[in-house]
C-alpha cells in the first residue's frame, strides 16, 4: 500500500518538478528523494513512460566534464496533465484528511 501510494503520486511529483524547470535524471531523482523515501531507480521507468506518453520530452546537452547529459522537459500536454492531476490531488487529499481527522462526524 505504501509503495503503491507513492507510485501513484510519483508521476505528479515528476510533472510538477519539470513544470518549474528542466532537469537531468540525477537531479530530478535527488529532488524527489530529498522529499521522500523512494527507490531511486524506479523513477527512470516512470520517466520513460511519461516520455513515451509525450507528457515529457528529453534533449541532450553536451557537458564539459563527463558524458553528455539528458535533460527532461515538460510538454504542453504534460503541463495540462499536471494541472489536472494537481487539482485532483488537492481535492482528494483534502477529502481524505477530513475523513481521517473525523471532521464530518
Amino acid at each position: 500500500m505504501k509503495s503503491q501510494l507513492k507510485r501513484g503520486t510519483l508521476e505528479l511529483c515528476v510533472l510538477s518538478l519539470l513544470s518549474r524547470s528542466d532537469c537531468y535524471g540525477y537531479e530530478l531523482v535527488n529532488r524527489i528523494s530529498d522529499c521522500m523515501q523512494v527507490t531511486e531507480g524506479t523513477i527512470y521507468p516512470l520517466l520513460k513512460r511519461l516520455k513515451d506518453n509525450r507528457s515529457i520530452d528529453s534533449y541532450i546537452v553536451e557537458s564539459q566534464e563527463g558524458p553528455p547529459r539528458k535533460y527532461y522537459s515538460i510538454t504542453d500536454m504534460g503541463r495540462a496533465q499536471k494541472e489536472e492531476q494537481e487539482a485532483e490531488w488537492f481535492s482528494f487529499s483534502a477529502a481524505i484528511n477530513k475523513l481521517l481527522k473525523g471532521e464530518n462526524e
Binding site: G8, T39, G41, L50, D52, K70
Partner: protein, 236 residues
C-alpha cells in the same frame, strides 16, 4: 543482494531486464551510466549510488510492466500501473481509480504457431513409432514375466505329479521329478524378482505419456493437466 560497484549493478540490471523481456536496453543503460557519473561528480561512492537506486530486479520489472516493449499503446499501461493519476488526456477521474489494489501480473499466454507446427511433427514421429515400439516392449516384458511365472508353477506341479503318480509312458524326459519340481520353483521365484523392474518400466512408460500430454497442454493451454505417478502433487 548488495552491489558495491557500477559494473556489478549494471550487469545485474541487464540480466534482470533480459529476464523480464525488456528489449530497448541501450537507452536505459545510458541513463543509468549517466546517473552513476553524476553521482560520482556529486561525491557519492558507487556503492552509495547502487544502494539508493535499489533492486535492479524491481526496476526491470517496472520497465517491463510499463508495457512499451510490446508495441502497446501507452494509455493501457497507465491503468495497469494502478496509478491514481492517469497520464492520458481525459483520464478517468481520480476518485474512481485512485489506490486500486496492486496490479495483478497478467498471465499473457498466447499460442505460438511455430510451437503448434512443431507439435504436429513431433506427434507424427511419436505416434508412428516411438509410442507403439515402447508399448510393445512393455507388453512383451509383462507377457514374458507372467509366462515364466506360470511355466515355473506348471513345472513344479508336473514334477510333484510325476513323483506321486510316476512319469506317464507317453512323456519322455531326462529330468527326474524332483529336479523338475525344483526347477519350477527356481523359475517362478526368479520371475517374481522381475515383477519389480517390470512395474518400474510400466510406470516409466506411463510417465513418458503424461509428459507428452503435459507438454501438449502447456503449449496449447499454458499449464500442465496431469501429475506424474510416484511424485507428490505439486512437485511434478
Amino acid at each position: 543482494m548488495n552491489y558495491t560497484n557500477k559494473e556489478q549493478y549494471i550487469q545485474a540490471l541487464i540480466n534482470a531486464m533480459t529476464r523480464c523481456g525488456v528489449t530497448d536496453q541501450r537507452e536505459i543503460l545510458t541513463d543509468f551510466e549517466q546517473h552513476f557519473a553524476d553521482g560520482a561528480a556529486a561525491g557519492e561512492s558507487e556503492e552509495q549510488v547502487c544502494q539508493k537506486l535499489g533492486d535492479p530486479e524491481e526496476i526491470a520489472k517496472q520497465y517491463a510492466s510499463e508495457g512499451f516493449f510490446e508495441g502497446q499503446p501507452a494509455a493501457q499501461s497507465v491503468g495497469a500501473e494502478a496509478s491514481g493519476f492517469g497520464a492520458e488526456p481525459g483520464a478517468v477521474p481520480v476518485q474512481n481509480t485512485a489506490y486500486a489494489p496492486p496490479p495483478v501480473q497478467q498471465n499473457s499466454f498466447h499460442i505460438d504457431a511455430g510451437a503448434v507446427i512443431g507439435i504436429i511433427f513431433v506427434d507424427l514421429l511419436i505416434f508412428s513409432w516411438t509410442i507403439p515400439t515402447l508399448a510393445s516392449l512393455i507388453i512383451a516384458l509383462y507377457s514374458v514375466v507372467v509366462g515364466l511365472i506360470f511355466a515355473g508353477i506348471g513345472l513344479f506341479a508336473g514334477g510333484v505329479a510325476a513323483g506321486a503318480f510316476g512319469t506317464p509312458d507317453w512323456l519322455y524326459t531326462c529330468f527326474s521329478p524332483v529336479s523338475t519340481a525344483l526347477f519350477g520353483v527356481v523359475m517362478t521365484s526368479g520371475s517374481l524378482l522381475l515383477v519389480g523392474p517390470c512395474f518400474a518400466a510400466g510406470r516409466g512408460f506411463i510417465n513418458i505419456c503424461i509428459s507428452i500430454i503435459n507438454w501438449h497442454s502447456r503449449t496449447l493451454a499454458g499449464r500442465n493437466v496431469l501429475n506424474k505417478i510416484g511424485k507428490k502433487a505439486g512437485k511434478a
